[in-house]
Symmetry: C3
Amino acid sequence: MKWKTPKTAQTLADALKATLHGDPERWLSGIQTLEKAGPEFLSFCTNKQYRPQLEQTQAGLVIISPEELPFCRRDALVVDHPRLALVQMAEWLKAEVKSEPGIHPTAICHESAVIAATATVGPYCVLGPGTVLEDEVVLYPQVVLGRDCRVGRASVLRSRVTCYDQVQIGERVLIHSGVVIGSDGFGFANDEQGQWIKMPHFGGVVIADKVEIGANTTIDAGFIEPTTIGRGVIIDNLVQIAHNVLIGEGTAIAAAVAIAGSTKIGKGCLIGGGARIAGHLDIADGAMITATSAVNRSLHQAGVYSSGFPARPNKQWRRNVARFQYLDQMAKRLARVEKNLNMESES
Amino acid sequence: MKWKTPKTAQTLADALKATLHGDPERWLSGIQTLEKAGPEFLSFCTNKQYRPQLEQTQAGLVIISPEELPFCRRDALVVDHPRLALVQMAEWLKAEVKSEPGIHPTAICHESAVIAATATVGPYCVLGPGTVLEDEVVLYPQVVLGRDCRVGRASVLRSRVTCYDQVQIGERVLIHSGVVIGSDGFGFANDEQGQWIKMPHFGGVVIADKVEIGANTTIDAGFIEPTTIGRGVIIDNLVQIAHNVLIGEGTAIAAAVAIAGSTKIGKGCLIGGGARIAGHLDIADGAMITATSAVNRSLHQAGVYSSGFPARPNKQWRRNVARFQYLDQMAKRLARVEKNLNMESES
Amino acid sequence: MKWKTPKTAQTLADALKATLHGDPERWLSGIQTLEKAGPEFLSFCTNKQYRPQLEQTQAGLVIISPEELPFCRRDALVVDHPRLALVQMAEWLKAEVKSEPGIHPTAICHESAVIAATATVGPYCVLGPGTVLEDEVVLYPQVVLGRDCRVGRASVLRSRVTCYDQVQIGERVLIHSGVVIGSDGFGFANDEQGQWIKMPHFGGVVIADKVEIGANTTIDAGFIEPTTIGRGVIIDNLVQIAHNVLIGEGTAIAAAVAIAGSTKIGKGCLIGGGARIAGHLDIADGAMITATSAVNRSLHQAGVYSSGFPARPNKQWRRNVARFQYLDQMAKRLARVEKNLNMESES
């Protein structure tokens, strides 16, 4: 990746508070991997497993930890945590492309919306009555916010995020494109003719500070109380979070997970990609649910839970699946054998 | 939730055709749960399991059924079905925030589009040639409708709904944000060089009356005949419905379900969250497919079908999965044991 | 489906390079299935299994292969490959509804964006600095492209496609509505307080020529190197492709698949609907992963891989699942029985 403007090694060292070994006047024009970087590129080595690439790299400058210095034959920026230095650099580069705050003339904001002077509202955004944007909020193009929403300080909503009514978003939240928040929960009753009667959902959604929500994820409004996403939760793409779900602080949810209505997920949980969690459950703090697992009862203590099967060659798989349909019979036959042998069955 | 304007107990009683026990002049400013409501709030008790909360509530007024009256120490609105009273109230409150019909000046409607005088077209909507909106249709901001679409009376399309060409939507349909309808079916043939050749999809989509479709769901166009969603079907968020699928009346489909091409789902089916249904199948009326099940052959009669495994502690799970890879061998060994004992195998 | 304008049998024969049997002056007004077509419709028979319908059809004209000619009682267009003739016809009809190139006055294009004179930019599109549209590109309404994107010749982005920064799209690519490309990868580190620190993703996305991507699919940006979709890959709706995934040429990915970060999928693979592929894996060229399978280790050779279970009547299913929780014990008991009988265990 090339930067908008090249930087000197000294500028980078100052920005990252790194110790520079080499030429402070060297110009770098962007960042690349150890293998691909040429002399005009900055690179980085985050782990000693990349030491062979470090020894071979043609990069002009490399971010490394002190232990890697003996293996680096190019100029080096030495820092304690190379990964965190990359994070810092990303923050610092963001400032480069930051647009001026202000409301784009094509944005349509209801007269009762309250927008901080330092907030940015992009082209074709639409803001409903009573909606509030705090300081330094950034709305990318085409964001739609309904009635009585609030977006906290320094939160960023990427293009096409849509919030229905009464969605409360905390500070420093990042929501990716295509996310829908506050849509009606999927709660229906059957009437006397067997037709679906839709239950209203008044509860809105509350999203705490420092949450990140991935592209095209959906979060439904609660019935009377809000659906709630705790502080520091991170959610990947295409995740479904149903009405009245509560997600505890710091929990991480990978892509394509679906969580059904009124389930409460604890703090610090890890939910692997494609997992499915049924409704009205209680998942303990610190539970780790591995990818593709299906959870249909509450998990009352921390620990690792699984139900996914790994793919196998189809022929072998099909033979075993065919036998599985008779597993109950097999268990009974085995017990009968044991009895015949006067052996005690263990289960 | 607070209402736009407070209401008196008498106004609420009249709107819900309820019997009022208490002060007709009491002002209520919104609705809350029994536990959270203070004296300025309306609350509700939908089930006798909430009787303890009913006895303790500080709500100013409570919607209850006649049986709960002895347990209610606050003013009460007595109705036969408290849940249905909530539904009625939601309908009645919607009128409060209803916008005036009309076409927003930023909407771009092709000159051949036909828009009823009582329809509402929100900001930045784009309507293609030949598209028709019937009476009382509401398009929220940024809806895009292609060529020759039709939206029936009183249907509502939330922000960012996108329909391609020839999408026919019935009356009183509700489609949530981010839904895409009528995109090309995923039908490809291989040419002689092994490259994918895309089959055209001319068939469009037909959605009957009173359907509800959840956020970011996708419904592809049919090949020559339309993909069809029957009357009163309810579909949750992030559901995939492929080309030429037919969904029968009143079927309910929970979140994250995927249904492959040309499958026909019967009437009154219930499809649990995350279920997968293969293509070219026939699912009988009244079939219930539990959450996370995978259906790969037709289901010819009503009943409950399953294939999901519940998550277990990982250590136990892994041991059993490892054994599963040898289940076919186990079955053969068991048969050999039975033969050795002159016992007859049962399967 | 009716066409915008009727066509004569001769016009159709010329367009499809077909041999016409029947009246060259016959007017056809659209295309229909064999069963539904009346005399003013064109129909088609792609397979001898439809011979009974072919013999009964009332269509005015039918596209058939030479072998079906004896069974066709209506006028016929004889071609070698009826399916390919439908593809050709679709291409030819597209020209009918093609809009004039140009930039809609409501599109907001950064002054440094470069847009070919033959490109089309629809209403309410927003293009960032440095973004390039090559010849004959078509952007439908409300497409948002960030900074330094490039869209290659004759590619089409349907309404509401969103690309973040540095997304490179090849030629003749088709991207459906709601797709998000280049959103931040889901890569986080834990800081010393156990809070998530987000890793930056500089790498963008590269999409080669002739790719098709289905509605509401998401493709994240890579870390330093780009996420890469190979030439001729076809991807269905609601698919998740994480950061730094590489997809080889000609691979087909059905709906609702999720592929985790840094996994490399080979060329010519087939990935069935709802499959889940873990991160950092290597999937060989030509691997076929059946629908709903979960892959958690690399697949080093071509072949068919599976892990899905087909749904069964719930009662039977639950009995077998209950036994599965004791499968490891069953295996040990079986071994004990064999030992008791002095039989050799085979696994």
